[in-house]
């Protein structure tokens, strides 16, 4: 199969999947089978591209000219390759998980859920392979709008309010800042292509370069750099599979992926180093890391705590990119992968607890580790990865980020990483401790029913999914080769 075809199929397979899901909506078993098969087909298709990309090929597709001289075009480069592998691979596991979760919780409108999910994945793949800012923007917006029905899924007032915040912030930032920045870039340079070394060097004067970068960073609201982070906690009203794959992997990673792309291929690292336009970004992302961790410490709702942890972890990627050394850029790329595996595991665990025990707050988790050993073990692995301890994926990426900070003698970045590691430990370890070493409190008189306390593990699909992602988190520590190779090829392009 030709690689050009594979690129198109990467978007077409989930899109066709969405149609088939819509058609099979009346027969749940068929519908879920189609979802799973679509996910598997997509992953195999993406895998087909991996070999050639590792060998140094950069397949391209020019779809059509949207404006004279401005095309919807795709080009697979290492970072996009990695992102697409993660998104499509985890979609398989997430689909298995969704089956358990959506049925276990008797959610309504499941067909709409699976359709929108497939469209969101299609948009994510398009974004990962986009060859210019226009294409990236198109899929960025499609991703925003296709995930709206997933966030507002429950349809009650809370869900609608959360979804309004979600859409409001993401659309406002992307239209007012990102679109503006892209138009500005185009009028300054006459191109929007992603080019090694960037296109903006020498095209925009002094402080304006910093302003333009700021427009990009805050325009890409999905990267959740403070203060445009509020949509992410708001999105937690969505069913957990959405939080897990979209708001820990696909959507938020689209954000930081776009940030890295813009810094590396639009501004150019050398350009930013010489102009000093990105210095402020180290402080802003550093602040986000610390502040979000502090907020996370105080959240009792488990999903909200995870959401703030995500905000903090996303800014690791931004920080790593902003340090502007090749080795920290590798760290940024690796952290996209590492955080994906770890955070999806944590969300899976949160959803698993909700499904089996109907518990949503951290303070309710005393002693739950003995009732749900697999879930909580997986949770512990995910948490270790967030903190950055071996033998988990988080250690690998953090190692590179620290190396980068050291090599450029960026002590601000270094101290941020160290301090935040402590904070991460501060809000994850107590959960693990409570789950395994505290006794469950006796029931209060106003406890409804009580049958929830006699629960075991979550349904089998959930357990399968959670075990797999936890395993991946550990495997990436021992076998980081593919991810590392891709990340290094990305900076190979820079030098």
């Amino acid at each position: 199969m030709s690689m050009e075809l594979s690129i198109i199929l990467a978007m077409a397979i989930p899109a066709v999947g969405a149609v088939l899901i819509a058609l099979s909506g009346r027969i749940p078993n068929l519908r879920e089978t189609i979802t799973l098969l679509t996910a598997i087909a997509l992953f195999l298709n993406v895998l087909n591209l991996l070999g050639p990309v590792l060998d140094g090929e950069r397949p391209e597709v020019h779809l059509l000219d949207m404006f004279p001289g401005l095309a919807i075009a795709f080009k697979v480069e290492p970072l996009g390759m990695m992102f697409s592998l993660i998104a499509s691979g985890l979609w398989i596991l997430n689909s298995i998980y969704s089956i358990g979760y959506m049925r276990g919780n008797k959610e309504k409108h499941q067909t709409r859920f699976y359709i929108c999910f497939a469209i969101a994945i299609s948009a994510t793949l398009g974004l990962a392979y986009s060859a210019n800012l226009l294409t990236l923007f198109i899929f960025y917006e499609v991703l925003t709008f296709s995930t709206y029905p997933l966030v507002s899924h429950k349809g009650n007032e809370t869900a609608l309010k959360g979804a309004r915040t979600y859409l409001g912030i993401l659309v406002t930032t992307s239209v007012a800042f990102l679109f503006f920045a892209i138009a500005w870039t185009y009028s300054a340079t006459g191109t929007l292509d992603f080019v090694d070394g960037g296109i903006l060097g020498g095209k925009v004067e002094g402080p304006l370069m910093g302003l333009l970068l700021m427009l990009f960073i805050y325009g890409i609201g999905k990267a959740a750099v403070m203060p445009v982070h509020r949509w992410l906690p708001a999105a937690m009203v969505a069913p957990t599979p959405v939080s897990a794959l979209l708001h820990a992997v696909a959507v938020v990673k689209s954000g930081v992926f776009s940030v890295v792309k813009v810094i590396v291929y639009t501004f150019g690292i050398d350009n930013l180093v010489t102009s000093g336009s990105a210095d402020w970004l180290v402080y802003i992302s550093g602040f986000t890391i610390i502040a979000a961790s502090m907020v996370a410490l105080r959240q009792d709702n488990l999903k909200r705590r995870l959401a703030y942890s995500t905000i903090s972890q996303l800014s690791y990627v931004v920080l790593a990119a902003a340090i502007l050394t090749p080795i920290s850029a590798v760290g940024a790329a690796l952290h996209i992968a590492a955080h994906a595996f770890g955070k999806i595991t944590l969300f899976f665990a949160a959803g698993s607890i909700y499904t089996a025990a109907h518990k949503t707050e951290v303070s309710q988790l005393n002693g739950i580790g003995w009732k749900m050993p697999i879930t909580m073990t997986a949770f512990a692995i995910g948490a270790l990865s967030m903190i950055g301890l071996p033998p988990t994926a988080g250690f690998v990426s953090k190692w590179y980020i620290i190396q980068g900070a050291m090599s450029s003698e960026n002590f601000v970045a270094l101290s941020v990483v160290i301090l935040s590691t402590l904070l991460n430990a501060g809000y994850f370890l107590p959960i693990i401790y409570a789950a395994f070493f505290r006794q469950a409190e006796p029931k209060g008189p106003d406890d409804h029913g009580g049958h929830h306390d006699h629960h075991g593990e979550a349904p089998l699909p959930i357990v399968i999914a959670i075990t797999s992602t936890a395993t991946l988190t550990i495997l990436m520590f021992f076998f980081p080769d593919v991810a590392l190779e891709l990340a290094q090829q990305m900076i190979g392009g820079i030098q």
Binding site: M66, F145, L167, F180, Y186
Partner: protein
């Protein structure tokens, strides 16, 4: 035969209109309208093809040569407008059958179709003619028939809306004639090309000329509903039968914009702007319209009224593009003229479907309609996303071009204003989408079915067009670019 296409374009609907009265039967009248509008559409495609391959068509009525006789003169600009008008006419005609039966008193339906054909005649005539006074005649034909069509709405307020429009429309037309009279006084000609040639020799600072420009601008601004001269529009759009609203929103204001383009660029030429400082005034009004009308739209509870205010705002975008006075800006205006026609037509057709099944377009009556009429609602979502300017819809193309024009004119703050105002569209579109999908209907026992296929097909043709032209822009942008170059380049 092909030599007579320009006159046939206008003559066929004109001749067919009395036929409807002769037969006095609503179904026969509908068939006549459908046939005529299809023929018009075919003719306009042939004309566009002819213009693009052979250049400007000049047709002399009764073989009296211009500037003494009346000339129909069709270049890329109006060939393109003819196509839009006749295409929308055909779609609405096809759509109209059920909708009109529901919204117009039964015994008046044949008159409705008569008025529809006359309106089509007027709009096509305004577009095709090369004679400024002849244009006025067609303007009156289209206006009078429009007043009649609006007044046929079932709500009694349709009468006052129609009356209001009649007053404002007549004012506009009168201003147009006064302006034209002043020009005639100075030049002694009414032929557009001839006017341009005569005006070239004159000093642009002559008071009479400036007064003429002022009268023409105000008169046409009334017709095209440029803020703050839009006051007739919300009522007219709200109370007119839905097919009429869809047709007017997509064609009437657009043709008025076309006439304005002609007056500005073909009759006076782009240099007149330097003499008069008109461009900043237009720009300010356009931007004010974008913000004020969008904000007002947010607070509407009647969807047709909401969309009407949105139209005022969108006309602001078109005028803004024109006021940049560069090729990119004018092509942005022209391309948005088509794009807005398509998306607004789709939006109003969707409203017609709701009107047909629910009998109301109040937001509170449409709670949960997304489940009952999924296809209609999905089409509205497409139109709504276009209004916002989401990528892969026509709205995005317009927005991109407008922004580029602002950048080209070195007006970055205006680029930002365009983007901010489009955010207001998110609010008014989403207000409806949210309740349509996620609110429980007020009266769940009410059985509401999906709209009939004969309404869904035209609706989806328009919704599909707003996606298609949002991705494949070869044709729309190509023609707009060509037209803009012709207008701004100064060639008549």
């Amino acid at each position: 035969m092909t030599a007579h296409l320009p006159i046939l374009q206008v003559l066929i609907p004109l001749m067919a209109a009395p036929l409807c009265v002769v037969f006095r039967h609503r179904d026969i009248a509908w068939i006549i309208v459908l046939l005529v509008s299809l023929i018009s559409f075919v003719i306009s495609t042939m004309i566009l093809d002819q213009v693009l391959t052979q250049g400007v068509i000049s047709y002399f009525m009764g073989d009296w040569p211009a500037p003494w006789g009346i000339e129909f003169r069709i270049d890329a600009v109006n060939a393109y407008i003819l196509l839009i008008v006749s295409a929308i006419g055909a779609v609405v005609a096809f759509y109209g059958r059920h909708s009109v039966t529901r919204e117009v008193p039964r015994d008046l339906i044949y008159l409705f179709y008569t008025a529809f054909l006359l309106c089509l005649t007027g709009l096509l005539g305004m577009t095709a003619t090369g004679d400024a006074f002849n244009l006025f005649v067609f303007l009156e034909i289209s206006s009078l028939s429009t007043y009649a069509m609006i007044s046929l709405g079932k709500d009694r307020r349709a009468l006052t809306a129609s009356y209001q429009y009649l007053i404002m429309g007549t004012l506009g037309a009168t201003f147009y004639v006064i302006g034209l009279g002043l020009l005639y006084m100075m030049t002694g000609t009414l032929n557009i090309v001839d006017l341009h040639a005569k005006l070239l020799d004159m000093d642009g600072s002559i008071r009479t000329l400036q007064a003429a420009l002022a009268f023409l601008t105000v008169g046409l601004s009334l017709k095209l509903a440029l803020f703050p001269l839009h006051l007739w529009l919300p009522n007219a759009y709200t109370y007119a039968p839905s097919s009429v609203t869809a047709f007017l929103a997509a064609t009437a204001t657009k043709v008025a914009v076309y006439v304005m383009l002609r007056v500005f660029f073909t009759i006076f030429g782009v240099d007149i702007f330097e003499e008069t400082g008109l461009a900043p005034v237009l720009m300010t009004l356009a931007i004010a319209g974008m913000f004020v009308a969008s904000t007002v739209a947010i607070f509407q509870n009647d969807m047709k009224r909401l969309l009407a205010y949105s139209s005022v705002a969108q006309i602001g975008y078109i005028m803004l593009g024109i006021s940049f006075l560069n090729v990119t800006g004018v092509s942005a205006g022209i391309v948005h003229l088509l794009n807005h026609a398509v998306m607004k037509c789709a939006a109003f057709l969707a409203m017609g479907c709701f009107m047909y099944r629910v009998g109301s377009v109040q937001i509170e009556d449409l709670h949960g309609i997304g489940k009952k009429m999924p296809w209609t609602m999905a089409a509205f979502v497409v139109a709504g996303l276009s209004l916002i300017g989401v990528p892969l819809t026509v709205g995005f193309i317009s927005k991109w071009y407008l922004i580029q024009a602002a950048m080209e004119a070195d007006m970055m703050p205006i680029a930002l204003l365009i983007l901010l105002s489009s955010l207001l569209a998110v609010v008014y579109v989403w207000r409806f989408i949210e309740v349509a999908y996620f609110k429980e209907p007020a009266n769940p026992s009410l059985k509401i079915k999906e709209a009939p296929l004969s309404m869904l097909i035209p609706l989806w043709v328009m919704a599909g067009a707003s996606i298609y032209f949002g991705v494949d822009t070869d044709m729309t942008l190509g023609v707009a670019q060509l037209a803009a170059e012709m207008l701004v380049g100064g060639a008549p």
